[in-house]
């Protein structure tokens, strides 16, 4: 028996390998480096590996290869763009994550116990969060470039498992945070099971787990269509769970609300990019010829997701829950890009994901700043009059909200316009009409928050905006700058995306 050693092209896989190496070094630092230098060492390793990976992504942007890891991953333009977007979002969020005010110093201690108090008093800080973030990022980088079902499933779990833990590490309201972790974990595992079951049926249909093989079987059309339909449906359910589309959204408001705010921002932005990346690859390349089996289903999902997200967000009294429902609505808008199934749809989706992700991290960065004596204040009523007390913070938040709403001259407008026109080109007129209408509904509740901040009298209840630390400031400034730049000068990024946004099979 002859074994052929696999050939890996390390340069093409280097972004993932760098992040994984950084994560492993982080674990070693956790074990061997003294407490005093640990935070700075961890932050430098995390930031260094993220930046290095981003540089590497930029260097390999013109390469395409299906054989980078013996057919398990495919390196192509969209994959590179998704990886770049995830890394930029991760770099912005790592500053926010580094602001240790948000995390408990001893996750294993019981809430309210002496042990917890001692850990807090001794100035212990939680540094495990950095390796966990890097592990999650490595899964996210792999997810949109995976080109067989095994890699796709493993990447899904590698990105999810650290996030489940990170959801439970909040410093304030620890019980709620642990509850968020439990809900995220149980529903996430539930959805992975659906995903895996669907993969089994796709394998049964095609007789192979590679995307190329499944694509060939779909074109050939000799297999059993019932098995194909079951496979598509279950895999789609698993992916729709991850992006939080209705009716698979139940976890997202609770998890968004309970998780530590920096983690919420990172998870909301980066997971969406990764999950939509994988979804776009699967449905644009592998299952494009089976569009009659999934497009009608996706249209219904997109329509109810957009309407539900926008309508329910109106009645929210908690800023994090409101942003959660807004992210559900955005998942609906992004599904329009999947439905479009043309090159314009792909370009628009990539642009939208990047613009939305950056604005999300920035918005959650601002949520961490509004506090009272017991921690963050996320009750919207207590945000009243914020614009008078701290005009800069309120203006920045207002700007992010306008970007979410898609007001012209913000990045959100360009994204929405591009994604809806791509869907319209492909003939999905009904979805586009619902999309535009629900954007209008969504604009209402974003603007209501702005009115609340600037034109309502403040209540005197000890809510204040803390002076942001330099790290949080960096997060907010960078995301604000990118959001403004993308709104005013969208064409450089659009032109950059255009030649790259071609999936290879």
């Amino acid at each position: 028996m002859v074994f052929n050693s696999p050939t890996l092209s390390y340069s093409l896989l280097s972004p993932i390998l760098i992040i994984l190496a950084g994560a492993l070094i982080g674990v070693l630092i956790e074990a061997f480096v003294g407490k005093a230098v640990r935070p700075i060492a961890q932050l430098s390793v995390a930031l260094g590996s993220l930046v290095l990976a981003l540089i590497q992504v930029i260097r390999i942007r013109d390469f395409t290869s299906t054989a980078a890891a013996i057919g398990s991953v495919v390196i192509d333009g969209p994959g590179i763009l998704f990886q770049g977007a995830i890394l930029v979002i991760a770099i912005i969020s790592i500053f926010l994550i580094a602001d240790q005010d948000n995390f408990t110093s001893s996750p294993a201690a019981l809430p309210g116990s002496d042990e917890e108090r001692q850990a807090a008093q001794s100035g212990t800080v939680l540094t495990e969060i950095y390796p966990l973030t890097l592990f999650a990022v490595s899964g996210m980088l792999l997810f949109p470039i995976a080109s067989d079902l095994i890699t796709l499933f493993v990447a899904l779990e590698v990105l999810s498992l650290p996030l489940y833990l990170m959801a439970g590490l909040s410093r304030h309201r620890r019980l709620a945070s642990q509850e968020a972790a439990l809900k995220y974990f149980l529903l996430g595992a539930f959805s992975s099971a659906f995903f895996l079951f669907g993969s089994a049926y796709l394998y049964g249909y095609a007789g192979t787990v590679s995307f190329a093989g499944i694509h060939a079987a779909v074109i050939g059309g000799t297999g059993n269509d019932v098995i194909l339909l079951l496979g598509i449906a279950f895999v789609a359910i698993g992916l729709l769970f991850k992006v939080g589309a209705v009716p698979f959204h139940a976890w997202s408001p609770d998890v968004y609300q309970g998780s530590p705010t920096p983690i919420t921002g990172f998870m909301a932005a980066a997971t969406k990019v990764a999950a939509f990346g994988a979804m776009l690859r699967l449905f644009y390349t592998v299952l494009a010829e089976a569009q009659w089996q999934w497009r009608p289903f996706f249209m219904v999902i997109a329509i109810i997701t957009m309407i539900f997200g926008s309508l329910v967000a109106i009645s929210q009294r908690d800023v994090k829950r409101m942003l959660a429902y807004s992210s559900i609505a955005h998942a609906g808008f992004l599904l329009t890009g999947v439905i479009a199934l043309n090159k314009a749809g792909l370009e628009a989706s990539i642009y939208y994901l990047f613009a939305y992700g950056v604005a999300t991290v920035g918005a959650f960065g601002i949520v961490t700043l509004v506090r009272d004596s017991s921690g963050e204040v996320s009750d919207l009523n207590r945000w009243a009059g914020l614009g008078k007390r701290s005009p800069w913070v309120a203006s920045a938040f207002a700007f992010f909200l306008l970007a979410f709403a898609g007001i012209p001259l913000t990045s959100g407008f360009i994204g929405k316009f591009a994604i809806f026109s791509a869907a319209y080109e492909s003939g999905a007129t009904a979805v586009v009409i619902v999309g535009v209408l629900s954007s209008a509904i969504a604009a209402f509740f974003y603007i209501r928050v702005i009115v609340l901040m600037f034109f309502t009298d403040a209540t005197e209840d000890g809510t204040s905006v803390v002076i942001p630390s330099i790290l949080t400031r960096l997060t907010i400034f960078i995301s604000l700058a990118i959001t403004v730049a993308l709104g005013v000068f969208p064409s450089p990024l659009l032109d950059f995306i255009k030649p790259l946004a071609i999936f290879i099979r």
Binding site: P107, A108, L110, P111, L149, I150, F153, V154, E157, L161, Y164, L165, G168, R173, R174, L175, A176, Q178, E179, A180, A181, L182, K183, F185, L186, A189, F190, S192, A193, F194, L196, F197, S199, A200, Y201, Y203, G204, G207, T208, V209, P253, D254, Q257, G258
Partner: protein, 99 residues
């Protein structure tokens, strides 16, 4: 024996698991139901592997076992933490959010 019967069995196991996740209240039991679903998917993979006459499906089953083991580690850590702070592993008692 007809291989299709294994597909029916695995679909049944998957359904039992899914229903269990929805109706059971104890986090541990819910989690076990998720594991049942994963194993049902494994059985499907192995059955299709036999029907298709190649080994890909069996390889996936090994990957799934490893991934499921990782999930157990993370999941039990979360459930134990919840139990220690609340003295209850019921998913209904966890209702602080939504307010």
């Amino acid at each position: 024996m007809n291989s299709a019967n294994y597909l029916y069995l695995s679909a049944l196991l998957f359904t039992i698991g899914a229903v269990g996740v929805v109706i059971r209240r104890n986090a541990i039991v819910v989690f076990m139901c998720v594991e049942l679903m994963l194993n049902a998917a494994n059985l499907t993979f192995v059955t299709f592997s036999r029907i298709n006459g190649n080994l890909d499906g069996q390889i996936v089953a090994f990957f799934t076992m490893v991934v499921a083991a990782c999930e157990v580690v993370v999941g039990l850590a979360i459930i134990v933490t919840i139990y220690r702070s609340r003295r209850s592993a019921s998913v209904d008692d966890a209702n602080l959010l939504k307010r």
